[in-house]
Structures are given as C-alpha cells and as structure tokens.
Amino acid sequence: MLRVKQGDVAAFTELVEKYKQPIMNLVYRTIHDPTEAEDLAQNVFVQVFKSAPRYKNTAKFSTWLFTIARNLCLNEIRRRSRHPAESLDVPHPEQEDQPLHQFEDKKTFSPPESLLHGELARKIEEAMADLPENQRSAILLCRQEDLSYEEIADILGCSVSATKSLIHRGRETLKEKLKAYLRSGKWEKTE
C-alpha cells in the first residue's frame, strides 16, 4: 500500500488481484444484487486508489479495505431504502406487450443456481440473507481468517465483545433454521 501511495500502479493491481474475491464475497452477500455487487466491488478499489495519499500505516490494509467495502454497502442499502425499486412488471407505454424495463439475462451469474450446490448451501444463503446486516457482516468477516476479532470490531465500528455477541447471535439463528441439516450431518450430500 505504501508503494500505491507513491503511485505504483503495479502494486495497486496486485492488491486488487489479492482482495477482489473476498471483497466480492462480502459485497454480494450484503446487498444481494450481482450487478450492483460488481459495480460496488469495483468502486471499493477505486476509492482505495483515490484515498491512497491519505492512507496511514497505523492499521492493517485489509481492515481499512473491508471498512471501505462495508461503508459503501451500507450507503447502497440506505439508498435503496430511500428509493424503493420500481416494479419490473410495469408495461411499456407504447408497447403494452413489452415490459418498461428490460434487463440482460446474465446466465453466467444467476444466483442462486450458479452460486449454490446442494440444498444446505441454498438454505444457508437464505438464512444468511435473513439475518440483520450487522450479524451477517460479522459472520462473513469472521470467515476471513486473516482478520482478528479486534480488526473485525474496527470494521464494524463496535467493541470486541459486541462483535462476538453479533457472531454468536447470528450463528444461533442459523443453527435454529438449519438444525435439521446440521444435526443429521446430511449436509455432506449434494444434489
């Protein structure tokens, strides 16, 4: 990151290659829109590049990066709550047999089919999506083995004990919803 601060584009490219997957995983499961997730994940790295001159080596880069990602996700969630999506079934004013909004059918990325394998994976995705955002983010960040609980707390903007409580409560909810699969061990079977 210090090299990026000095304008080293190759160093920046290395960072993007290293973190694009974990950032995309967090962003997609936070906002649940594949198109927006792509744009938002790209914007995370654009913001990193623009903010590089102000970066200080006091915190780990991944903590800073995930904080930017989460803040952009929260902005998107707030924007959606202020501007609810229009119905996709509204007909075109001039061609009544066509919808007003037409979108490309992206077969390369069509969740949940392309992301999910097995009934348990689909159930976990659904259960995660139903969690409050802070619990879901805490559990997703906990997946990142290179982030300590202190760093996760920094990203979430709360104490370590609060972070652990979020993870615990989120997991308890998931266990309750998925107990039929988890207790029996049938999760190992895939469809």
Partner: protein, 160 residues
C-alpha cells in the same frame, strides 16, 4: 451485549482452531460429554459457512477498476482545465498587479485633486493686488464702521 451471552469456549468453533486450542477443546469435551453434540453442530455450521461458494468475479475485474480510475482522472482534469489559470499559483501575482495599478491610480487622482485645489487658491490670491489704495482707504473706513459699538463722533464730524 456482553460476553456472558455465550460460552467463550464456543468461540473456538467459529474458526479453525490452532493445535493448542484443539487440544484444550478436546480435553474440555472429554469432561463434558453432554456438550459433544452441540459442539459438533457448531463445527458443522462453521464448515458449511466456510464452504459457501465464492461469488463469481469477472475475469476483467481488475482492468475495469483501472479503467474506472482513468475515467475519473480524465473527468477531474477536464473540470480543472478551463479554470486552471485561476489557481492560487497564478492568482497571487495577478492580484498583486491589480493592487499596484489601483494604488497608482488612486495616487494620481489624489495628486490631481491637490493640484486643482492649489490652483483655486492661487486664483483667489491673484485678485488681491487689483485693489487700489483708494479702495483700501475706503475699506479701512468700512472696517471701522463694522467694529464700532456706538456712534462714532469722529466719523460724524468728518461727514459734517
């Protein structure tokens, strides 16, 4: 929110335990066999979460990031372009030049005003030598009339 809402040991199931943690856990479980089922459920949940598939990332993701940065830089320089010469570096000398011109103008105006006033004064003083001695004599008479507080016997005698 506090640590008492969950068993601190359960935190070990949230992530892959280190060898030391695994040994401690095993030792604890051997003494608390009733917790074995819950522990295994926790472990299965952690594994299921970790096995969630990655969200697909486009192969040209990095290229698109770099393109977005280039676009933003181009837009930013276009916005700055026409007004670049208003930047501080060029504004200060221009401001100084304007101040000098204004100061010189004000000084010139002041000098002109002073010169005009002097000319007026000079013109008024020029009129004084045109008065003849007879006028001055009469002026003396008139001046005496103005300062008299009572009948001037001397004047009355003269007029008689």
């Amino acid at each position: 929110m506090n640590e008492s809402d969950h068993n601190p040991l359960s935190e070990k199931s949230w992530r892959k335990p280190t060898p030391t943690e695994a040994a401690e856990l095993q030792a604890w479980l051997s003494k608390h066999s009733e917790a074995q089922a819950d522990w295994e459920t926790d472990l299965r949940l952690t594994e299921a979460i970790n096995r969630l598939p990655d969200a697909p990332v486009p192969s040209n993701f990095t290229a698109r990031v770099l393109q977005a940065i280039e676009r933003e830089s181009a837009v930013g320089s276009q916005r700055r372009g026409p007004f670049q010469w208003w930047s501080l570096r060029s504004l200060l000398p221009r401001t100084a030049a304007v101040a000098v011109v204004l100061g010189a103008s004000l000084l010139a105006f002041h000098e002109h005003t002073v010169a005009e006033r002097r000319a007026e004064l000079a013109q008024s003083v020029k009129m004084v030598p045109a008065l003849s001695p007879e006028v001055l004599q009469n002026f003396e008479t008139i001046r005496k009339m103005g300062s008299a507080t009572g009948p001037d016997g001397e004047l009355i005698a003269l007029m008689q």
